[in-house]
Each structure stands twice: as C-alpha cells, then as structure tokens.
C-alpha cells in the first residue's frame, strides 16, 4: 500500500507539474463555459421542458470536447515509459506490477476529476448569480456528477490499456479515441435498423452512454450503469496488468 501511494503521488505530481494538465483544464472550462452560456440563452428564448443540467449533458457539443480528453490524459501512461525505457527501472524495483497499474490509473482519475470539476461549479454559480431557484434538482446535479465520473473511470481504463499496448503515444491516443467513440456509438445503434422493441434494441440500451446520462441527469440514479462501468473498468485494468506481465510469460 505504501508503494502504491509513492507511485500514485509521483504520477500525480508529474501530471500537475506538466503544462498539459493546465492547458486541458483551461480549454475544457472555456469550451463548456461557452456552451453553458449558449444553453442559458437558448432556454431564455424558448421554453424547455428539461432542466439546465439535462440540456447541457444532452448537447453533442459537450461530448465532443469530453471524448477528446481521454486520449490526451492517458496516452503517456505506459507508452512514454516504454519508449524512454524507464519502465525497466520501474519494474525491476521491488514493486508489484499491479501497484504500478493501479497507481497510474487512480492518478489519472484524480487528474480527470480536476479537469471536469469546474463544469459542476457552473450550476451553483448560476443559481448564486441569478438568484433563480430550481433550475435543476439536487438529484440531477449529483446524478450527472456520478454519471460523468463513471464514464470517465471507464474511458480512462480503455486509455490505460491502449497505452500499455504500444510504445507510441500517438498510436495509444488514436486507439483510445476510436475505442471510446465506438463504445459511445454502440448506444446509438438501437436507433438504426432494429425494431424498437426487439431484443437487440433492448440489449443495446444497456451499453448506451446517452441513455445512462439521460436517466442520471433527471436525477434517476440507477444501479445498472454503476455496475456496468465499474465492472468493465475492472476487466480493462486487469487486462492492462496482463499486457505488462506478458513480457514475463514463459513461452
């Protein structure tokens, strides 16, 4: 556990001492700030049956910026260490591979949380400035936060695996982006070519990020997406561990 914390601190430090983290925080906040203002303006012009939170997270603009985050924050995790050769020093120190993987994974989750956190300040800030009550429910607020956290945890696991598969950061980034997008589009497949009540359409809703967010931003906290994202993340992180250990397989 001590080793985990040393590695975790080192990862977090190297993230927070690099300019990348600050550029991402600034750009992500700027993009979503602009989006937030636009949605508020649009809701002034036209009455919406949905809350501010729901409208923000249902907007395609939000997801566009959102999915670009994952390749950027995960690509260097293992690819860089493998390219520079520092992985050799790291894994010949008396540390378990699992400690290395988990330290990197959790450090990235913390960084991710720091990057997306400003978006969740917008809503209380809006209430504070306008004095407008009930623009959203607290259920929707905490629900959407949970949703964004879970989706992040899952997508970071995808990125961690992709980074362990290659020594090239660019390839790791592209692989992450494609896998993240493919998973996202899986949820849209139900809209194409399948009868609305078929078993396929039904099954695919379980994978649909959009569906998950729709229910969570209405304050409906369902246990299914929680189990779904956490269990798949565990599988992906276990795979990452195996990829790194594969160099020691006796073949």
């Amino acid at each position: 556990m001590r080793t985990f914390f040393i590695l975790f601190t080192k990862e977090l430090r190297s993230f927070l001492l690099s300019p990348l983290a600050y550029v991402l925080i600034a750009l992500f906040t700027l993009l979503n700030g602009w989006l937030f203002v636009s949605i508020v303006k649009a809701m002034q012009l036209q009455v919406s049956s949905q809350s501010l939170i729901h409208n923000l997270f249902a907007s395609g603009w939000f997801w566009m910026g959102f999915f670009v985050l994952f390749p950027l924050i995960t690509m260097r995790l293992f690819a860089e260490e493998r390219k520079m050769g520092t992985i050799e020093g790291l894994l010949t120190a008396p540390v378990r591979t699992s400690e290395v993987v988990l330290a990197k994974y959790f450090a990235t989750i913390v960084v991710y949380a720091i990057i997306v956190a400003p978006v969740f300040f917008f809503f209380p800030l809006f209430e504070f400035i306008t004095g407008e009550q009930g623009a959203f429910s607290s259920g929707a607020f905490w629900g959407s936060m949970l949703g964004i956290f879970l989706i992040g945890v899952f997508n970071i696991a995808i990125g961690t695996l992709a980074s362990a598969l290659t020594t090239n950061q660019l390839i790791a980034a592209m692989l992450t982006f494609v896998l993240v997008m493919l998973h996202y589009f899986l949820g849209f497949l139900q809209n194409f070519g399948t009868a609305p009540d078929s078993i396929w359409a039904d099954g695919l809703t379980y994978f649909s990020t959009t569906e998950h967010m729709n229910s969570l931003t209405e304050g409906l906290i369902d246990s299914r997406p929680i189990v779904y994202y956490i269990s798949f993340s565990v599988v992906l992180i276990a795979l990452t561990h195996h990829v790194l250990e594969s160099r020691k397989w006796r073949v």
């Binding site: 690099s18 020093g89 010949t92 008396p94 160099r247």
Partner: protein, 328 residues
C-alpha cells in the same frame, strides 16, 4: 550471489541466450564481455526479473528469480543500458522516489540519497532537472539510483557507454571502489574496461559462454606467439641468420630499411622472453640498438581471436541446419 543454470531466452525465431550457466561469488566483480547482440543485456534483464527465461533457472542471493521475484529485486541495484531516467524530475527528487519505491522509509531515504549523491559526486547538481544534465552526470544519477538502497548485488549494463575518456576513467575508479562493498556484475563490449576493473571475465558470443576466467589467465591462455621488435645499425648482412639461431625464435622477418637502420620482427614461442639473448647478441656483434621491444597480446587480441573462431563454428553449424531443413 548468482547461480544461473542453463538460462535460455528465445524470441520469435531467434535464440538470444542459449543455455548459459555461471556462478558469481560474493564480493566478486565480474564482467560480461561480448560483441553487440551477444545476449549480455538479455541475460542481465533475466537476472533482474524484467524478462523471464524461456528455459533454465537462476538464483540471486538464494532466491529464485521466478518464484521470489520481489525478494530478488530488493537485493539488486540495476542500471539499465543507456540509463533511462525521468527527464522532468530533479536529481534529488528522482533519487528520493527511487529510494522510496525500493522500500526505504521517508527519513531513511533522505539519508540514503545524501550518501549515494556523495559517493557519485552529485551533490552540486542535486537541484537540477535531469534533462539538463550532461551524459556523464546522467550516468552517475543512474549509478546513484542503483546503489541507493545498498543492495548486495549491483548489475550495471554498459556503465561507461557514451562517456568521454576522462569520465570513463572516473566511472571505472568509482566501480572499483564500489566493488569493496558490493558484488558487481557489469556488461561491456570494451575490453580494457574488464581488464582494469574485473576479477573475472565471462565472454559471451551468440548467446553462449565462450570463456570464463580472470583477465590475466585469459590472456595467458589465449596469448598468441610473442613478438619482439628490434631495430639495429652496423654490420647487419648476417643479422637475420644470427637472430634466427637463438633458441625459441620461430620466424624473423625484415621490415623496411630506413637511413641504415634495419628493423626486424621476431616471432617466438608463446611465453618465452628472448630479449636478454638478443641484447647479448647485439653486444657481441657490436650493433647499435635503437629499439628492442616486446609486444604482448592484449585481452583485445584474445577476444577477437575467440569471437572470430566462434564465428567460423557458428557459420558451419547454420550451414548444416539449413541443409537439414531443406532435406525435411
């Protein structure tokens, strides 16, 4: 300290290390010598538990490298080839991090880092960012990292690679000094290095051990016929004949004559010194002598000899295996 038995490492279609066995006793400084691609780094990576062997086993300080990998790694200080470091960390930060993941507590780590920086003369650059350091300093940071937790065994992969002659001399002296406290296994393709620092040399070529001995014994065993160079002036018409008549002389060749000076290359039986007899001869013949020198074969010669003879053997081996493949 190390007992390796029949270590073999196969990569897809290629055998990098081919059934090598060797022992390293406590307190020894052993040099792994071999041309590039001989399997030195692969062997070191197996011993440090970075890779696993396809076959065979090894024990470090009594622990199996496969079963007790963590215990083995606690006892090894390893400096990989080309000394990979985190470029954006400060020297002291990096060493503290390394000391801590090697199991030292915060306070112990602080002292251990001070000491390691002192041994490797890094104290004046301790606050510098690693990417701004020169190659020589980076090498020393790597070395400080390897010895920070006072491991019983140091494994250094080409520790002087890419340094300038002055730095090479310094790092050799450092390694020799470290040999008083640690068992050391170094790999290199530079011969003079093992000749100067190691108690024992293991010569590796194409994944096989070709020789394992002290540098001195190796030179003696592999010494080529001795050669003496003689340059004389005077009545030298009969010189070749007269030199040839000395016992132990195998061959005398005349080199070019310059300004009346005759230069002779004399080949003798191995391990015979005929310089005294030659001196007596020159007195008797009243020759003037400008040069009388013996040229002993260096480890370099022994090494080239060994590897080249090995090359012939391997070439014929692959020839037959190709034939067998064709037959099948």
């Amino acid at each position: 300290m190390i007992e390796a038995k029949e270590l073999t490492k196969r990569y897809a279609g290629r055998t990098a290390v081919d059934g090598i066995s060797f022992d390293v006793a406590q307190g020894e400084i052993v040099g792994f010598l071999g041309p590039n691609g001989a399997g030195k780094s692969t062997t070191l990576r197996i011993l440090t538990c970075f890779l696993s062997a396809s076959e065979g086993s090894a024990k470090v300080a009594g622990f199996d490298i496969y079963e007790d990998s963590i215990e083995v790694r606690k006892r090894i200080g390893y400096m990989p080839e080309n000394v990979p470091l985190y470029p954006d960390m400060r020297v002291i930060e990096y060493l503290k991090f390394r000391a801590q993941i090697k199991g030292l507590r915060y306070r112990e780590a602080k002292w251990a880092v001070e000491e390691a920086m002192d041994i490797c003369s890094l104290t004046e650059v301790n606050k510098k960012i690693i990417s701004t350091l020169s190659k020589g300093y980076k090498q020393r940071v790597g070395l400080a990292d390897a010895l920070v937790n006072k491991p019983e065994l140091l494994i250094l992969d080409e520790p002087t690679n890419g340094l300038d002659p002055n730095q090479i001399r310094q790092s050799r002296e450092l390694i020799k000094r470290l040999g008083e406290r640690h068992t050391i296994l170094i790999s290199t393709h530079i011969l003079s290095e093992v000749e100067m620092t190691c108690n024992r040399v293991i010569i590796l070529d194409r994944g096989k051990i070709k020789a394992s001995d002290t540098p001195q014994n190796l030179i003696r065993r592999l010494r080529q016929p001795g050669a003496v160079l003689l340059e004389i002036k005077g009545k030298t018409d009969q010189a070749v004949k007269k030199v040839q008549s000395i016992e132990g002389v195998k061959e005398v060749t005349k080199n070019e004559q310059r300004n009346g000076w005759l230069s002779l290359s004399i080949v003798t039986d191995p391990n015979i010194d005929i310089r005294e007899e030659i001196f007596d001869l020159t007195l008797k013949e009243k020759w003037k002598v400008r040069e009388l020198a013996s040229r002993t074969a260096s480890l370099e010669d022994a090494f080239v000899d060994l590897v080249q003879s090995g090359a012939v053997a391997t070439a014929s081996e692959t020839g037959t295996s190709e034939k067998e493949a064709a037959d099948a």
